[in-house]
Subunit: 98 residues, 2 copies
DNA sequence: TAGATAATTAGATATTTTTCTAAATATTGC
DNA sequence: GCAATATTTAGAAAAATATCTAATTATCTA
């Protein structure tokens, strides 16, 4: 029950507004790296770094589908926590603004 | 209802393990800066910096009492969120270990 | 008022993080 | 196999953060 989260990694991951916006986007369902990237003004390389941080924190899962890599929220660790956090705070980041 | 939180400031504040340990310590009730500092291996100056970040995020309140400054959790913004976060994750920081 | 104690602010340095460009890897379809 | 597309990895530069020492501010007490 969320007891095997890497606390430091998760908080660090959540501290960046771009990463929070990525997570927010994924709440609508799985997306490819490219689809996620459309909403941001950064290079694919930078985005990839953010993905790595989120993955390391176990907040997202990846699955290769052909040439694409599909990202989705890791519901085990994340879904309940993410909802609590995301809904508790008003969105303000440049992308995914509700 | 938690809708006027400064999202970015709060997450940034929570991203540092020393600051999370400070908050954790304050869950037992208000403490002076010095009392909080006893648990850490950093200088008062560094600690003061962390207090400033927590204050800026509205996570703690301060009140001067004589030569002391007493810190407490800001229950309005924090108490419910803090409980959710702190209880959801296992403690791992050097200080305030439950 | 002077000295002691508590805490913060100023200024500098070291570390970490974010971002970029360029190069590498994986996969598709001809 | 080769070119095109999707994504990641490597390496470097810029920006942000954490920490320190030294100096400052505020308060207490003798």
């Amino acid at each position: 029950m969320a007891s095997h989260m890497k606390q430091q990694e998760v908080f660090k991951a959540m501290a960046d507004p771009t990463r929070r916006a990525i997570l927010k986007r994924l709440q609508g369902g799985p997306l490819t790296a490219g689809e996620i990237g459309e909403a941001f003004d950064i290079t694919p390389a930078s985005l990839s770094h953010h993905f790595a941080v989120l993955k390391h924190a176990d907040l997202v899962r990846t699955e290769r589908r052909g040439q694409y890599i599909v990202y989705s929220l890791n519901s085990t660790v994340f879904e309940d926590l993410a909802r609590v956090l995301m809904d508790l705070f008003p969105t303000k980041g440049k992308a995914g603004g509700k």
